[in-house]
């Protein structure tokens, strides 16, 4: 049997999930003991090329497989692109899923990110504003009361920007979107006291003596009753050094920072994002922030796919590898989901393959998801695509399954009912779908 054929039977053989396990899985309801306490989403907005990274097709013709060669990894049967040597060495830490896709319903840059990041077919307009996973965690299982529960670094997505922060759970559950690497970022400043702590304490003392009038019927109204609690939490957050320290990377040793940034290209064809977001994500997770999301540059490479690949893929490789190492070393990987994915793959058939501008167009029918930690399998492949990498041929799962898998690992029942503004009850993941049993422990 050729290696390719072996791969095609896919997850089953590799991850040791037999038919019996699957049947057992179907009768399992959402478990209460969450494997994942925290989650990091590295969002590759625009859609990274699966054929150049985690779904190599070396036996395809040149106008499909492109110029990057496959390399072996620590997991027998798994090859990755040659620009991912560090992640190849750490393949025993993560799962590669090749069989979840939007199938373009809805797809494209305007809607696919909304679908992937909420687990529901949310549209730009005309559908309910389903919440992101982090917003749901914020509502149902918020973190420590002196930290934000859901932090977005830079922005949610390179095309839809922060449109996803609006959600029907209410503005209270929107993420904290901040750009701590920028000096002038107002939100980062808003989260760190604008006064020295003693002055802040004097002011809050004075505030306490002046804000006495309307405290009598506090418990009667939800909005009013909430004010005290919100003020308490906000002031705790400002007083606490946790967030400030997490965001202050000047405390990080130079050689540590270097591991994240060493492949950062000096010049790049497209916006590349900042590999320091991997480091910031780790520091926020260490501090106790439950969900961290960041967009890592622009991956919509219609032109110069291979130029951009040489610039951005090694940077991604170093950054994610360092993140996985650090989390594992600190014993945090088992309780922290780490995801790297975009909203689509890229077209296997190369556009203008002979020219320098050779690119890969949109592809909403196949892509990869890298998932590590928090109950995801170590060293595992789920699903497979056809010989060109165009269509999923094994273990197809919808986005709903992916979303339900995340909630399952986070210990949140995906059938929990929440209400839209018009008071219609909906489940966290509206559609019923099986969880991706092959991908998890």
């Amino acid at each position: 049997m050729k290696r390719r054929d072996f791969l095609r039977i896919g997850g089953l053989g590799l991850c040791g999930v037999g038919a019996l396990d699957l049947i057992r899985a179907q009768s399992l309801s959402a478990s209460n003991n969450a494997k994942a306490k925290q989650m990091i989403v590295c969002w590759l907005g625009g859609g990274p090329p699966h054929l150049d990274m985690f779904d190599m097709k070396p036996e395809s013709s040149e106008d499909y497989r492109g110029i990057f060669r496959p390399i072996d990894t620590t997991v027998p049967g798994l090859q990755v692109g040659e620009l991912l040597p560090e992640l190849a060495k750490r393949a025993d830490k993560y799962t590669v899923i090749r069989s979840v896709t939007t199938m373009n319903k809805p797809g494209d840059h305007a809607q696919a990110p909304l679908y992937w990041l909420t687990g529901n077919p949310r549209l730009t307009t005309g559908s309910d504003e389903y919440p992101m996973y982090g917003s749901v965690v914020n509502k149902l299982r918020p973190g420590p009361n002196d930290l934000p529960t859901f932090v977005v670094l830079d922005e949610i997505d390179v095309h839809t920007h922060n449109a996803l922060s609006r959600n029907f759970l209410g503005s209270a559950h929107a993420p904290f979107v901040m750009q701590p690497l920028k000096d002038k970022d107002a939100v980062t400043k808003m989260l760190t006291p604008q006064l020295e702590l003693p002055a802040f304490a004097r002011n809050t003392d004075l505030l306490k003596t002046l804000d006495t009038r309307l405290r009598r019927n506090d418990t009667q109204d939800e909005v009013i009753a909430g004010l005290d609690q919100y003020q308490q939490t906000a002031f705790n957050l400002l007083r606490s050094p946790k967030l400030r320290q997490a965001l202050d990377i000047s405390k990080e040793p130079t050689e540590s920072i270097e591991r994240f940034t060493r492949n950062k290209p000096a010049k790049a064809r497209y916006p590349i994002g900042d590999p320091l977001h991997f480091l910031l994500a780790r520091r926020l997770i260490e501090a106790g922030v439950p969900v961290v999301h960041f967009n890592l540059g622009y991956w919509d490479w219609h032109g110069e796919n291979f130029t951009a690949g040489k610039q951005q893929i090694p940077m991604f490789d170093a950054g994610l590898a360092a993140l996985l190492d650090d989390l594992d070393e600190r014993g945090l990987l088992d309780s922290t989901i780490v995801l790297a994915l975009g909203e689509m793959g890229r077209k296997p058939k190369i556009d203008k393959p002979k020219e320098t501008g050779a690119g890969r167009d949109h592809w909403d029918y196949a892509q990869f998801v890298l998932a590590a930690g928090g109950g995801f399998n170590r060293g595992c492949i789920v699903g497979a695509t056809d010989k060109h990498g165009e269509q999923v041929v094994d273990k197809f799962y919808k986005i709903e399954s992916f979303g339900r898998t995340l909630y399952h690992l986070l210990g949140i029942d995906a059938d929990t009912l929440v209400h839209t503004p018009a008071n219609r009850p909906v489940k966290l993941i509206v559609e019923d779908a099986p969880i991706i049993k092959e991908a998890i422990l």
């Binding site: 808003m190 009667q220 109204d221 909005v223 906000a234 503004p421």
Partner: protein, 877 residues
């Protein structure tokens, strides 16, 4: 045959009276079995009533399709759901009792009445029965109103009348819901338990049919209800209900609180310190009434209600594709039109008529309309003269030019905006909490189907030949202009440009030389000669400049002409000769209607071919007996002042969402109609009531009240008003950063037509929940009034807020430089933020804070920081 015999035998054994519902016959599928499915929640939207059912078993939502449900029960899944030879082992029963794993858990107990009912039905062969005969004609709940004490219980009794004339006690087959569980709870069997003081609606549902009842729980204990002077009938009604509930009303609020409250609510602004001082010093007995009158006439009042109406009318949702409409052009125009009408205070029914019946041409000739469109484009320039032009239009055609304003979706929006109804559920299925069926929505929608859909279509030129003629002419004209521009740029223009460039150099050179010669006291004639040359060079330069400007103007006109032509062709709001049938398609299937019928009316209407069907809608709306039109606006205005509607939520007018004070609502509506739909009459009546002017501090024993206005309910300031208040308090402004779109330099946040570029402003608006104003959400609740830690962080620690506090030209900087002692400065800063003077204790504390500080300037800033972070600042109280 054998099976029937067996069934009859079994029936005899079981005997009658499972649920006390049926007498001696087998349970009826319609009357008992589907009702039970509803009660147990089996056919709910999140269980088997979901689009694809659940785990392979689908029931129609709320039992809307009994025949289909019966079919699926009998025949799907290899017929294993019902086992006639051994009813006990029917999958239906095994699942429902949880004897085999069931995603929905055990819904009923083995051996219960409900279980026996299903068993007996299966035993009888699971017969279906006649749909028509089992249609519910009336559902009667008794008692309709019950007064009780906390801890007491009683059982609701429900009987149903059916189309065949029979009546049956269906209590055990109903679902019960209390609309206020803090007042009374109700259990599965319909037993109501009093919990706390107040009144609660009870909703009873039998199959898809709802009915309502009411529970009243007065406060215990004897207290003398004070003799209070009512300002008007509002107070009569409110006080009567309070007395019935034995809840004591709060005192009247003090003058400073009143002034702040009425300013924020009527004009959306804080009163200035001088206004507060003057009002407090005014000894007149009628000063509150006079203030109300004055504020109602201020432009801020129209601004504030323009904001509200523009939220409701989704006034920023423009531009589909190539229709030459855009948010930047049209949202401010729509806003200007609404503001102009509110300033004129035209009767509300006329206001709505001019929106609902709007057409672009308003009966004018095509030429006149073309001129208007051209002028509007011309007016999209600094100062936005087009806004006034648009505001002079009689009708608001932009309402019908918005995205999604046509067809069934547009109809839902009309129902929401003008009738206070949420009927979007009826798009796909029977409304779960109301009477609306799909037909109701579709029949009503047919009255709007002749309104043309706005947006690019290549069929438009054929459909509208009158517009097409102008469209072609204008495009040709634009082409001519473009050609002309090209020629000017390449021909004469090019030469003139060159001359102009040389002339400019010459001008510079000559100017310098002349200056040099003058300084050196050079030859006069030489200087004069050079001056002549300079004049010539300048003339050439001017000519070149003028020519270039003219070319640019023609270029702009050419581009505008293309846009204007497009707007004319693709976006004119007009009536088609014939509309398509209203139709909805959802995951549950498609449905279509040919009938024209007004909402809630039994009989269809016929529309004469030469009349705009929307006229029928308008005529129906403004009839005094209309159950929705006046109530919707009266209730919304009430909700503006009290944070909740007499019917709440205010956009859910429904027999199953009972009013807390139905008589009051009726009187307000009657008065409103009698006063020719005068909105200011409505505002004035509410504002002048004692109820509105009550303190937010409850009287002894009344603190638990939330729905009866025993005291003034507090609520958070809306996003726009809050930011304006923050600006006023700190003595700063925000430039919206929208010069590119010709916004004026100064503009209050309340006046903002859509999200501006200014990052701080948009951050505040998003954080505090300004609605998106697009057609996707039809709900007053889109304006988010909740709280969050973002709100606290923003006001207490946003760098821009601190900049405002420390602004060198701002309030605290001005105060610190002003004459007067520390105490008077503290007084001023209190007046400017929370609109009252400090108590002695507060003043002393602040003075002490200031004097003990190293730097009095920053100390005053800190006091200002404290005040804008108090509840008194954040809340309407």
């Amino acid at each position: 045959m054998l099976r029937l015999l067996f069934a009859a035998l079994l029936l005899l054994l079981i005997g009658p009276g499972w649920a006390g519902a049926a007498e001696t016959s087998a349970p009826s599928y319609q009357r008992h079995v589907t009702a039970l499915f509803g009660k147990l929640g089996c056919n709910g939207g999140t269980c088997h009533g979901a689009v694809k059912g659940q785990n392979g078993f689908r029931l129609s939502m709320f039992g809307a399709d009994p025949a289909g449900d019966h079919e699926r029960l009998m025949h799907e899944y290899g017929g294993r759901r019902l086992n006639f030879s051994d009813p006990e082992s029917s999958l239906l029963l095994l699942k429902a009792t949880g004897q085999v794993p069931h995603g929905g858990g055990a819904r009923l107990k083995a051996g219960s009445d409900e279980h026996r009912l299903l068993q007996a039905w299966i035993t009888a062969g699971a017969p279906a029965d006649d749909v028509a005969a089992s249609r519910v004609t009336r559902l009667i709940v008794s008692p309709v109103e019950q007064v009780m004490q906390p801890g007491e219980t009683y059982r609701v009794k429900v009987s149903a009348e059916f189309a065949d004339g029979s009546t049956e006690d269906v209590t055990s087959l109903c679902l019960f819901e209390s609309l206020d569980q803090a007042v009374a709870t109700v259990d599965r069997a319909g037993v109501v338990t009093g919990v706390g003081v107040g009144d609660a609606g009870l909703i009873v549902r039998y199959r898809a049919q709802p009915a309502a009842a009411r529970v009243l729980v007065p406060r215990r204990g004897a207290s003398t209800f004070p003799k209070l002077v009512s300002s008007n009938f509002v107070d009569d009604r409110i006080l009567a209900k309070l007395q019935r509930l034995n809840l004591l009303p709060a005192e009247l609020c003090d003058d400073a609180t009143f002034l702040r409250r009425v300013h924020l609510d009527v004009v959306g602004e804080l009163p200035t310190p001088d206004e507060v001082r003057a009002f407090l010093a005014d000894a007149s007995a009628h000063k509150r009434a006079a203030m109300i009158e004055e504020l109602l006439l201020r432009p801020g009042h129209a601004d504030l209600w323009t904001l509200k109406f523009c939220d409701l009318l989704k006034a920023a949702d423009f531009g589909v594709y190539a229709d030459a409409l855009s948010k930047e052009h049209d949202a401010p125009r729509m806003q200007a039109w609404v503001r102009a009408r509110l300033n004129e205070n035209i009767p509300y029914d006329e206001f709505v008529e001019r929106i609902l019946l709007a057409t672009s041409r308003e009966g004018r000739t095509m030429e006149e309309y073309v001129a208007e469109v051209n002028a509007l484009f011309e007016g999209y320039a600094p100062g936005r003269p087009d806004l006034e032009l648009y505001a002079r239009r009689r009708t608001l055609d932009l309402f019908w030019q918005r995205r999604g304003s046509d067809g069934v979706k547009g109809t839902m929006q009309v129902a929401h905006a003008f009738l206070g109804l949420r009927i979007e559920c009826a798009q796909c299925h029977r409304h779960p909490h109301d009477n609306w069926q799909q037909e109701d929505l579709l029949d009503f929608a047919n009255l709007f189907m002749r309104v043309r859909t706005v947006g690019f279509s290549d069929k438009n030129e054929k459909l509208f030949p009158d517009a097409a003629t102008h469209f072609k002419q204008m495009n040709e004209e634009a082409k001519r202009l473009e050609a002309d521009v090209k020629q000017r740029k390449e021909g004469e223009g090019k030469k003139l440009e060159e001359d102009g460039r040389k002339a400019r150099q010459e001008v510079d050179k000559l100017t310098a030389e002349i200056a040099r010669l003058e300084k050196a006291k050079g030859d006069e004639s030489d200087i004069a000669k050079k001056r002549e040359l300079l004049a010539v060079a300048k003339e050439v330069q001017t000519q070149a400049d003028n020519y270039r400007q003219e070319t640019a103007a023609r270029d702009k006109r050419a581009k505008q002409m293309v846009e204007a032509a497009r707007r004319l062709m693709q976006a004119e709001a007009r009536l088609l000769d014939k509309g398509e049938n209203a139709r909805v398609t959802s995951t549950l299937g498609s449905r279509e209607s040919k009938t024209f019928r007004l909402l809630g009316e039994a009989e269809p209407v016929t529309v004469p071919a030469d009349r705009d069907p929307r006229e029928l809608v308008m005529g129906w709306m403004r009839k005094p007996g209309n159950p929705y039109f006046a109530r919707a606006i009266v209730n919304r205005v009430w909700a503006h002042y009290f944070g909740r509607g007499i019917i709440d939520p205010p956009d859910n007018l429904s027999a199953f969402n009972p009013a807390t004070h139905p008589e009051l609502l009726k009187e307000l509506c009657d008065g409103f109609i009698e006063n020719k739909f005068d909105l200011r009459w409505l505002h004035r009546t509410i504002l002048k009531s004692r109820t509105y002017q009550q303190s937010s501090t409850p009287a002894e024993g009344s603190a638990t009240d939330r729905t009866h206005y025993a005291f003034f309910p507090m609520r958070r300031l809306p996003a726009e008003v809050l930011l304006d208040a923050l600006n006023t308090a700190t003595g700063t402004t925000e430039n919206m950063d929208m010069k590119y779109h010709h916004w004026p330099d100064t503009m209050s946040t309340v006046q903002v037509p859509f999200m501006p570029q200014n990052k701080f402003v948009s951050f505040v608006l998003e954080t505090y929940g300004r609605p998106q104003r697009n057609a996707a959400v039809q709900c007053d609740c889109e304006r988010d009034n909740s709280g969050s830690i973002f709100h606290v962080l923003l006001l207490s620690n946003h760098p821009r807020v601190w900049e405002k506090i420390r602004d060198p030209a701002g309030r605290s900087a001005r105060l610190i430089k002003a004459t007067g002692d520390t105490a008077s400065k503290i007084d001023d800063i209190f007046l400017a933020t929370i609109s009252r003077l400090p108590t002695d204790q507060e003043r002393n504390r602040c003075v002490e804070f200031m004097t003990s500080a190293e730097n009095p300037e920053t100390a005053l800033q800190d006091v200002l920081w404290c005040l804008i972070n108090t509840r008194e600042f954040l809340l309407q109280h």
